[in-house]
């Protein structure tokens, strides 16, 4: 399919714009005036609409089919949320509108703060962070400010070897040192190792619970004790909160700071990469450090409170991704206390799939899972040369989006499967049937896997070439011809998903 730029014709345009006669025409100083126009595409509106429509037909979303991308909680995104977020009172509201003329928006944010606090079991919430990873960074900044305020010097954060890549990356960005704790044979944190790692230099732990293995740490109380006893804090990576809403609260598990991924648990559509939302909740003693402004309630009135002298400051513009709040608020209000059933169903669906697949793939940790589980294709790989990557590509031919692969890193040839609560049993069965068929194909006709996918708009793509050539924008007349340098395409057997 051609690029917009390749369809462009000089003199064509889609836009019509108001023009006013007789306006002053201020002169710009030469050196500030645009010297040559940006080569934006020139198409008519019908061509534009067809272009974008066709692009969408080359993309797969939850609305297209089953999307069990582990750790990403690809649940159905209710359509009604798109309707309410488009109300002009939300969509066309300027963030600097006077507070008395934005009471509805402020109330919505305040209510969302209250709801999130209840779900986490922690009293104070900031909605500001833009995504989970920014929530993490915010959480670490809070730790830093907290310890600075107490005059304590702590420089190390412990993360699990199963942690999502954002955890260590956030640690670095926050200026901390990283320590890594291992996972034991049951999939829990290795307590002995943990005790070795934690000392008075330890600022805190970052943990996902249930972990990225889809397993709840059975000794979470003990874990919390180890950190709290040494004066450190616990950070809860909320990416897996979908497993435990209304069942177990991070605050009750002992965590001091939590981030939520509104685009996972609370159904903000991920839009092919974003937007998301990563609010954080904290214990009382951390509240003074939260970003400004907070939304507070004075009687019947809601207002923005900037009066937090110990605040870490701002982590993004204004008050956070407001449109995301509207959707997530609407989502939660559609469940109310029955959020518990949402989580129960997610866990039921995952365990059902696990039960159907456990014999055909390797199961590194043989426990009931929570909302997701991790299989391994290591036997298929060893015996038939079919890797997790090949299984993933072959699933495309069956009409499914592949699960997350090669993550978490502790499992070789990992297939990380998260069905979510919104899928029907028929869909789970069809997926399980496909996975079983693929395991058989790996034995009988492994080339079917290795040459997959067969039915997508493109065949398997060469990621190595992409990185080597680094063609990251259209080059117009000088655009290189990549087809010319022909090699067998190499897709990376590396993390895809999560």
């Amino acid at each position: 399919m051609r690029l917009l730029y390749e369809k462009s014709q000089p003199g064509r345009r889609a836009s019509t714009l108001p023009r006013y006669e007789g306006l002053p025409r201020p002169e710009l100083p030469d050196e500030l005036r645009r010297s040559s126009p940006p080569r934006l595409p020139e198409l008519s509106e019908p061509e534009l609409v067809r272009h974008f429509t066709e692009l969408t037909t080359r993309n797969f979303g939850i609305d297209t089919g089953f999307y069990p991308l582990g750790s990403c909680t690809m649940k159905y995104n209710p359509r009604v949320n798109e309707r309410v977020v488009s109300l002009p009172g939300f969509r066309d509201l300027h963030p600097l509108q006077e507070e008395e003329a934005a009471q509805g928006a402020l109330e919505l944010m305040w209510r969302l703060q209250e709801i999130l606090a209840e779900i986490a079991g922690l009293p104070a919430v900031s909605l500001q962070p833009a995504a989970g990873s920014q929530g993490e960074l915010t959480g670490l900044m809070l730790m830093r400010a907290y310890f600075a305020d107490r005059g304590e010097e702590r420089d190390t954060i412990v993360t699990a070897d199963t942690a999502h890549g954002t955890n260590p990356a956030s640690v670095t960005m926050a200026g901390y040192r990283l320590a890594k704790v291992e996972t034991d044979a049951r999939g829990n944190l290795d307590l002995a190792h943990l005790r070795e790692l934690v000392d008075e230099r330890t600022a805190g732990l970052m943990l996902t619970n249930p972990s990225t293995l889809g397993l709840f740490d059975e000794r979470i109380e003990e874990v919390a004790r180890i950190f709290h006893d040494s004066g450190a804090l616990l950070y809860y990576d909320g990416a897996n909160l979908n497993a435990v809403c209304g069942i177990s609260r991070p605050g009750d598990m002992g965590f001091d700071i939590v981030h939520y991924n509104l685009h996972k648990t609370f159904s903000q559509p991920h839009g092919g990469g974003g937007p998301g939302g990563g609010p954080v909740a904290v214990r009382e003693r951390l509240e003074p450090f939260l970003p400004v402004p907070a939304v507070v309630r004075d009687g019947e009135r809601f207002r923005l409170d900037y009066d937090r002298p110990k605040t870490i400051g701002k982590v993004r513009g204004f008050y956070g991704p407001f449109g995301v709040f509207v959707r997530s608020y609407a989502y939660i209000r559609a469940f109310g206390p029955a959020l518990r059933e949402m989580s129960e169903t997610a866990v039921l669906n995952a365990n059902y799939l696990l039960a159907r697949l456990r014999d055909a793939y390797d199961l590194p940790y043989d426990r009931l899972c929570m909302h997701e589980f991790v299989l391994s294709a290591r036997t298929l790989k060893r015996e038939h040369g079919a890797s997790a990557l090949d299984v993933a590509k072959r699933l495309m031919d069956y009409g499914f989006h592949p699960p997350t692969i090669y993550f978490p890193l502790v499992v070789s040839e990992a297939l990380m499967i998260e069905p979510t609560e919104t899928e029907a049993k028929e869909t789970l069965d069809a997926f399980a049937d496909a996975m079983l068929a693929i395991a058989r194909e790996a034995e009988d006709t492994p080339e079917l896997l290795k040459e997959a996918p067969h039915g997508r708009p493109v065949g398997r793509l060469d990621e190595v070439k992409a990185a080597k050539r680094a063609v990251v924008r259209y080059g117009f007349e000088e655009h290189p011809d990549l087809a010319a340098d022909a090699t067998a395409p190499r897709a990376l057997e590396a993390q895809k998903g999560a």
Binding site: P26, Q97, A169, F216, G336, A338, V347
Partner: protein, 450 residues
């Protein structure tokens, strides 16, 4: 069996549940949670208001929305970073199609050519606008890309100080300062002189700095001597980083053409509704030499088995999921859909439409400056779509009185700049009309006679 919650979003019937529990080999759903220690279980229902049915939900949200005064209900000259530009209807196509809306990050390229190609096109548009060689797939917003850019500069230069002009949007400076603590960066601010920044002062401050960040047009709407500021930075060996408004770049020079290493900005002007401040997108583009230090997703072109063109996430060894603590950033979820809305808007405009939009904004703003000539705060300075005026008393009082007459006259600069309590920042987009500007002038004259 207890009665299950009625939700249109859950797909299991009671029979399904029973059959599934049997396959799993447990007697109840509760049993699935046996690994959770009793002490950390919640032994009561969540204390949340009861579930709302879809009609009730819509009604409730409509009621909340109705308690906001949006720019369809009030004539508004608010800007200060977020602008009431026209968002064309083609953008709705990009935003409403489920295949884009409900997709995750395109990790599996064969499933995601639509989004991948679109981002590639977006990256190209941003490069064209800014005069840069490479753009990422978006950052969170116009504030966080500034922090990102500082992180790049720190690593590229090995220096640990950044210079910000005071005319850089206050919240951009705030966010940079928040991040700077973790980055180990000192932040130095250069005050303005009569609405713009003196290159000499920048030259002074830039000594030993990793980067100089300035905004064009700046927060007061004034046009900075951007080439000179960039030159001052470059002379000191600091990266020149311009924070620019995409909608201005049909008439204003591209940062890549006056010596900047990076160009960043808030994308909202191009393709995004105001939405009480988010979600929008931040853009970040750079010269080629910095490509392997950039944060965030980058899409690259490649070929498939048959030599056919395709697009993939590329240069991933920069990223957290591959490099973990050594990554250039922790970002994963970004603002793709908003950036694609931006692409749709920019493609709708084309080079011609972008220039016309810029000219119309400039023309209308110039007309407003004429109408408010007695009040203009920095009359010497050239401006683009926004300018500051002085009022005779506290600006927030003037805003209150003007709003009672149906006009929001702009942003009270005193909220961010001490000593400017009597200043208003007035934004004029192409959606305003000359007669609306007349109305602003009349209302201001009424509530704040000179």
């Amino acid at each position: 069996m207890t009665a299950h919650f009625q939700s249109g979003q859950l797909s299991l019937t009671d029979d399904d549940r029973d059959a599934m529990l049997e396959t799993i080999g447990v007697a109840s759903i509760d049993e699935l949670f046996r690994d959770i220690p009793a002490a950390v279980r919640l032994d009561r229902p969540l204390d949340l208001e009861p579930a709302l049915s879809e009609p009730e939900l819509v009604r409730h949200l409509e009621e909340l929305a109705a308690r906001n005064v949006d720019t369809t209900r009030e004539l508004s000259f608010l800007g200060a970073g977020i602008y009431d530009h026209y968002v064309p209807a083609v953008v709705d196509v990009v935003l409403s199609r489920g295949e884009f809306l409900t997709a995750y990050t395109p990790y599996q390229p064969e499933m995601s050519q639509g989004v991948l190609q679109a981002i590639f096109e977006y990256q190209t548009a941003i490069c064209e606008l800014t005069g840069m060689d490479v753009s990422n797939a978006s950052g969170y917003d116009g504030t966080t890309v500034a922090a990102d850019a500082c992180f790049v500069a720190k690593h590229v230069t090995g220096r640990d100080k950044v210079v910000l002009t005071e005319t850089l949007a206050p919240q951009v400076r705030q966010v940079v300062k928040t991040y700077a603590v973790g980055f180990g960066l000192e932040v130095v601010e250069v005050p303005h002189d009569g609405g713009t920044t003196d290159p000499a002062r920048v030259a002074e401050a830039a000594d030993g700095a990793a980067a100089v960040l300035f905004q064009q047009p700046n927060f007061f709407g004034c046009l900075e001597p951007a080439p000179e500021l960039a030159a001052a930075a470059n002379e000191a060996g600091a990266l020149a980083i311009a924070h620019v408004d995409p909608i201005s770049l049909g008439v204003l020079e591209a940062p890549g053409n006056y010596g900047c290493a990076l160009a960043i900005g808030e994308g909202q002007s191009a393709g995004n509704h105001q939405s009480f401040g988010g979600p929008h997108y931040g853009f970040l583009a750079a010269k080629d030499e910095f490509v392997r230090r950039l944060p965030g997703r980058i899409i690259g072109e490649t070929t498939d088995v048959d030599g056919a063109r395709g697009f993939v996430l590329t240069l991933q060894t920069r990223e957290q999921h591959i490099r973990r603590e050594k990554a250039t950033s922790n970002i994963t979820t970004n603002q793709t859909l908003l950036a694609l809305a931006g692409l749709a808007h920019l493609a709708w405009l084309g080079p011609q439409g972008l220039r016309e939009t810029g000219e119309t904004c400039m023309g209308l703003a110039a007309y407003a400056r004429e109408r408010l000539a007695d009040r203009v705060l920095f009359p010497e300075r050239a401006t683009f779509k926004e300018f500051a005026v002085r009022v005779g008393r506290n600006a927030t009082d003037v805003i209150r009185d003007a709003r009672e007459r149906g006009v929001h006259p702009g942003y009270a600069l005193g909220r961010d700049y001490p000593g400017m309590d009597d200043a208003l920042l007035v934004a004029v987009t192409e959606k305003r009309t000359p007669s609306e500007i007349d109305r602003l002038a009349d209302v201001l004259a009424e509530v704040d006679p000179l």
